[in-house]
Every structure is written in C-alpha cells, then in structure tokens.
Symmetry: C2
Subunit: 228 residues, 2 copies
C-alpha cells in the first residue's frame, strides 16, 4: 500500500503516537530515517544546488534506499522545501536567542553592542546559514513561496526583535529619539553588508579577527549615530 502523495508528506498509520521506535540502535526507525534524509538532502542541495542534486545522491548520503526517500516525501520539491525550512528554523532560533541576550545585559552600551554584533555575525557566517541564504536566493524564481515564507520568518523577525530591544533603549534614554525599526535595519546592515563584501557573498571565509573588527566598527558607527 502506498500512502505518500497526500499533503506532501507521508504519515504512517501506525505512527500516530510514535515514541522512540528503536531507542537502542540509532539510525533505524522511521523518525531517525526521516531526519537523516532531511539532513542529507540539505547538504547535497547546498553542495550541488537544487537542479544538480540527484535524489539518488541524497538517498546514498542518508544511508537509505531511494524509494524510502519517496516514502517520506512526495517529490523532490517537497523534500527541498522541508529541508530548507528545517535548517532555516534552526538558524532563526540561534539568531533570536542572541538578540534576546541584549535585554539582560547591564554593562556599557558599547560593549553590549559589540558583543551582540559579534554573535550575530557568528550566526551570519555559519556554514548552514550561508547555504540557506544561497539556496534561497538561487531558487527564488523557481520557488517564490518558500522564499517569502522563510525569509519573512528569519530576516524579518530578527530585525523586528532587534527593533524591540532598541525601542527599550530609546525609552530608558540610552539611545536618542529615533525610529527603532530603522535603527535595527541599519545595525543589521552594518554587520551583514561588510560581511557580505568581505566573504565575497559567502564564497570565502572571513577570519575571526576580521569578523570582530566588523562588529566593533558597526557598533562604533551605530553609537555615533544613535547614542544619546
């Protein structure tokens, strides 16, 4: 019996309440396989691009037979969407956690901003994040929906969270009167822009020292422009 091709993802009738199906040997069991496929798919897509990625290669990388892939995901498109969404979700989580830290800092504004910048840059420079952005950009015309979905739930929300923090800093008098959303957008630009430039759009590594320097420069310019 085949029960794929319903709603883009297969649902095993038995796994309606699926605990760990194979707690002893990892890699066996439906869920482990599904995760392995998603992970392998992301890596292969990141390496080869959507069009060049062969489903056989993904199956091989996941240590799984090709029909198993199609048992979990209706087709290549669905697999691509879910793999990308999963990784984007992870990236978003890290970003938001970093921004959140800004709230409970008690130190001087400069050191807090430098720290925030450095951490955001770490997220930004992360290999998987770079791959997500590249794939998103590459397939923007082929998958318009995925682009809006993911991009709005990442870049968008990070800047929004940042704006929220900045709004508080305006209220407590640390920053001058200004539009927090614009300040957030610019702070992010001061980090991402030079990184983009120096990393040649992610195709080259940027040294830790250079990354730190970018964060310091961004914080400096931001403070000159926005501190009270």
């Amino acid at each position: 019996m085949r029960w794929a091709s319903i709603g883009g993802m297969a649902r095993p009738p038995t796994s309606q309440s699926p605990k760990a199906q194979h707690p002893s040997t990892p890699g066996t069991g439906r869920i482990d396989k599904r995760a392995a496929i998603l992970d392998a798919a992301f890596q292969v897509f990141a390496r080869d691009g959507y069009a060049n990625a062969a489903v056989d290669a993904i199956a091989a990388a996941a240590g799984v037979a090709k029909p198993t892939v199609y048992n979990h995901f209706t087709d290549k498109q669905t697999l691509f969407r879910e793999a990308l969404a999963a990784d984007a979700e992870r990236a978003l989580g890290r970003n938001l956690a970093v921004v959140q830290r800004l709230s409970d800092g008690r130190g001087e504004l400069r050191s807090r901003l430098e720290d925030l910048g450095a951490r955001l840059i770490e997220c930004y420079a992360d290999d998987r994040s770079v791959a997500v952005r590249r794939l998103l950009c590459a397939e923007a015309s082929t998958f318009p929906e995925i682009h809006s979905e993911i991009r709005e739930q990442t870049g968008e929300r990070v800047v929004a969270a940042l704006a929220d923090r900045f709004a508080h800093l305006v209220l407590d008098g640390t920053l001058r009167e200004c539009d927090p959303a614009q300040a957030a957008e610019q702070f992010e630009a001061l980090l991402a822009g030079p990184m983009e430039h120096r990393s040649r759009s992610g195709s080259r590594k940027v040294s830790a020292a250079a990354r730190r320097a970018i964060a310091k420069a961004a914080a400096d310019t931001f403070i000159r422009a926005y501190a009270r």
Copy 2:
C-alpha cells in the same frame, strides 16, 4: 570547417578586421548575432537559472538557430560566463559613473550624499543588476572563478572608488579622521542592506519613495557618524 572550441570563443577567419558587416538591416551579420545571443542568454538565464535554461530557448529568444549558438560559444558554460560578464560590466560602468559625480559636487555634504545614495540605489535596484547578483550567488558553488572575477571587478571597485572620494573629503576636512575604506564599506552597507531587506532579496519591488527614504536615512546616519 569547425573552428569553435578554441579558447572558448569562436573567431571567424574573415572577421579579423570586421567593420559593420551589414549596416542596412540590423540583426544580420556575425556581430549582431553574437550580441543578440548574449542578450537572450542573459535574459533566459536570469529567468530560469543556469540549470533550467535550455540552449534551444536561448537560441529561440535570440532569433537564431541552435548550431549558431554553438558556433559562437563553445558550450553552455562559456555562454553563461560571457553573458554574465557582459552585463556585470555594464552595471559596473553605471555604478562608477555615479560615484564619480560625487567629486565635482559643490553643494552641502548632506545633499551630495543623499544624491549619491539615491543614484547608487537606482543602480542597485536595476532589474539586470538584481539578476546578475542572483545568478552570481546561485551559481557561486558551480562557477567559483566567475564569482571572484566579476564580484571583485564590481562590488570591489565601487567600494574602492567610494573610498577614494571619502579620502578626499577627509583631507579637505569635511569628514573626520577615519579609515575611508571602512567608511565606504559602511556607506554601501547602509544602502544595500535595507534595500536587500525591503526587496526581500530582490524578489519584490521597492517604491521610489521608499528608496529615497533609505538613501536619506543612510546619509543621515553616515553624517552623524563621519562628518566633522
């Protein structure tokens, strides 16, 4: 006789000193055809991506037979490289022209920067420029060389030209003592970052008013941070 596949591009033995071969009816003649193919190739690549672009489609769009395409360009890769390079070259030219204008401005710093910013944003938002960046990013892993070649001769040189202008402004006391290269990098980031954000990586249009606002905000922040 076939004389393609030598050095990536075909050279007609007869056209060693080729004037206009068909001045009356445009579209005929080797050079016109070559240009038409390059242009069509860029458009199809931009629309479909490298892998999805069919050479037949390019030939059709250029109003030319498929063997003619292969008569001018050894293979799809070469065609891609040359088409992209040609368009990147054009984009670079416009950018540099805009930056050059900054030197002969006599007005107030703010209005000069706002003007510069607005013009750079126009370049940045141009459809073909967006397409170049998208393709470059998309195929960065497939064509590492093209990426470094083009990117270094565009983003790189624009920022360098900008840095040169800023160095003069430091010397004549308009800007405070600072690293002009860093100032240039940040000014560009203050323009490109928000544009990237608002246009959702080029997938959505940004209104002229919004573009103007971004330029004003960038100039404002830059002046607060760098003006003497």
